[in-house]
């Protein structure tokens, strides 16, 4: 019982991180109907920026994190404004292929700039942990969870309580009507991609604090973001949290009963089941999840 409770707690902590990561993927998909297969590479770029800021510029982690977010924010804005906006009217699989090509190019650039070596930051939080109700919580995991939840709440506030959030939502419902009411649609699209990028950058910074990473490690994060978004439902923040925690808990439970080689397959089995039984996801809303293509 104690063991199961500990596993569920680990799953929840990991799930918070998954939820935050998936939101950056989800917002781009929900608003522009673009599945960004280069998302994992953007996370890796965030991780590399963080590592360089800490090791070469000597910045504290709290300063490196916004720097990583800024780098991927800018990258996201430029990508959408210069390239992806041209594909806005095309069929869904054109953008899918396009971002796959982009991902290959980014992986190659990362390989040239940072080599294929697996890297990690010197362990910031060590192995220290505190205890709640007999369950141990490592400081590192708890910090990641807290930052991820703060990002999630921040995105919720941005989308619901600011003019920019209203513009993004209006554009996602009906780009033509948004244009008629004076919204600069290409700019809003670019900002949305940039926000998704910033979340990828923060995710990357969090990855750098506790996990090892390499240019090729990005793909598994893209896949996880996929699973979480489909589980929870496209464009739903509560959905992302529920989907993330579900995936975190299931993955941790599965490692108890199954060989560790099945870890990723368990997530995908869950994904197939949800797609077959409830294609809109557990918390998916109309409009956001509407397949436009």
């Amino acid at each position: 019982m104690q063991l199961v409770a500990q596993i569920v707690l680990n799953g929840v902590l990991l799930g918070g991180f998954y939820a935050c990561m998936a939101l950056g993927f989800s917002i781009v998909w929900g608003v522009m109907n673009v599945v960004n297969l280069a998302y994992g590479s953007m996370i890796m770029i965030g991780a590399y920026v963080t590592q360089m800021a800490v090791l070469q510029l000597g910045l504290p982690l709290a300063a490196a994190l916004p720097l990583a977010a800024l780098a991927t924010f800018t990258m996201g804005y430029v990508l959408q404004r210069a390239l992806l906006n041209r594909l806005a009217e095309r069929s869904v699989f054109m953008t899918l292929i396009f971002t796959f090509g982009l991902n290959m190019a980014l992986i190659n650039l990362n390989l040239i700039l940072f080599s294929a070596d697996v890297r990690s930051l010197p362990d910031v939080f060590g192995r220290a942990s505190f205890t709640i109700a007999g369950l141990s919580v490592p400081y590192g995991r708890a910090t990641i969870f807290a930052v991820a939840m703060a990002m999630t709440l921040g995105l919720h506030a941005l989308l619901n309580w600011t003019p920019l959030g209203n513009a993004i939502k209006a554009t996602s419902f009906d780009p033509d009507a948004a244009r008629l009411s004076g919204i600069d649609v290409p700019h809003v699209y670019a900002l949305t991609f940039a926000i998704g990028g910033a979340i990828a950058g923060v995710t990357g910074a969090l990855v750098a604090t506790s996990y090892s990473f390499s240019p090729l490690a990005g793909e598994s994060y893209t896949m996880k973001a996929f699973v979480v978004v489909v589980l929870g439902g496209l464009g739903s923040i509560p959905g992302a949290i529920i989907g993330g925690m579900l995936l975190g808990i299931v993955e941790n439970l599965a490692s108890l009963f199954l060989d560790s080689g099945y870890r990723d397959a368990v997530g995908f089995t869950l994904l197939l089941l949800v797609l077959i039984l409830r294609p809109r996801g557990l918390m998916g809303r109309r409009f956001f999840a509407e397949v436009k293509g």
Binding site: N33, M104, A105, A265
Partner: protein, 331 residues
Amino acid sequence: MAASTLRARWGSGPWAGTLRSAAIGCVLMAILMVLPSFLSLYWLRLLTSVLMLAVIAQGMNAMAGFVGYPAFGNVVFFGIGAYGTALAIAAGFALGPALLFGAIPAGGLALAVGPLLLRLRGHYFAIATLGLNEVVSALAANLSGLTGGAAGLSLPLGAGTAGDAAQRAYVGFATLFAASLLLGIFLRDSRFGYGCRAIRSNEEAAEATGVPTLRVKSIAWMLSALLTAVAGGLYARWVGFIEPSLVFDMAISVKAFVMFLLGGAGTVFGPLIGALLIESATTLAWSHLLKLHLLVLGVTIMLVVLLLPDGAQGFVARHWPTVRDRLRRRS
């Protein structure tokens, strides 16, 4: 004189397009039959891999181009075909029957999960097929008793020299390529193919006019799976060693996708044109810019999508009239 008579007899009527494609196909196959005697082993291998990719791209085209369902994870059938065939060969079967051990499970899987997954559209269908590939690939990597696990599976060597083996692989893939052309012509010109295209342009309308959409989609996916699985089986025999990360590699699917897109979606010869262009570009990148080959391929993909959204054939069709007018005016 003779040409105009021919055109009068065959150039019009309901089967004109079919006959023209069949004639082009026959000429192509004749060239492919003569070509090996002029090629060195290196170029023979390259041509074999072009044919293999053209076949996989045609399998993708059958689903994504003709029916409009982006079966992104189609490489799962390639992997199943490779493993089924390899295991049957290891058990002592000849290549011909062994290919069935790859093709039948693949076609069966498409028919079994088709009715479930083909209710999804767009990205959701693409992701579901991707998930299917991940699950099957994980099974192949972990059921080590059967498949050899992540360490892979070695096949017993065939008879003869390396040159003989390369010749056999070439003949196998050329034959399969002919079958893939027949599938393309069938999907373009048959009643069944009209059903597929009706689904692509408007599924609700197709259903309303009496196309049994779910059945047509499932059968089209099964045909695509069979073609891809036989390609996987021939590949396993050709290279002699397979492992899950090699034959369930998503990059194969994506390459196939870009190829049929580049050649022209929903056309008979598009996959071959795309395979020739992309494979040449890849080979050039491998031999001259080894460190940049992913970058070159990635940027090529991005440029294809940005500049040639309707493929090379569409690009020519769009720009040929203007070019022709300009040439006429100058002369």
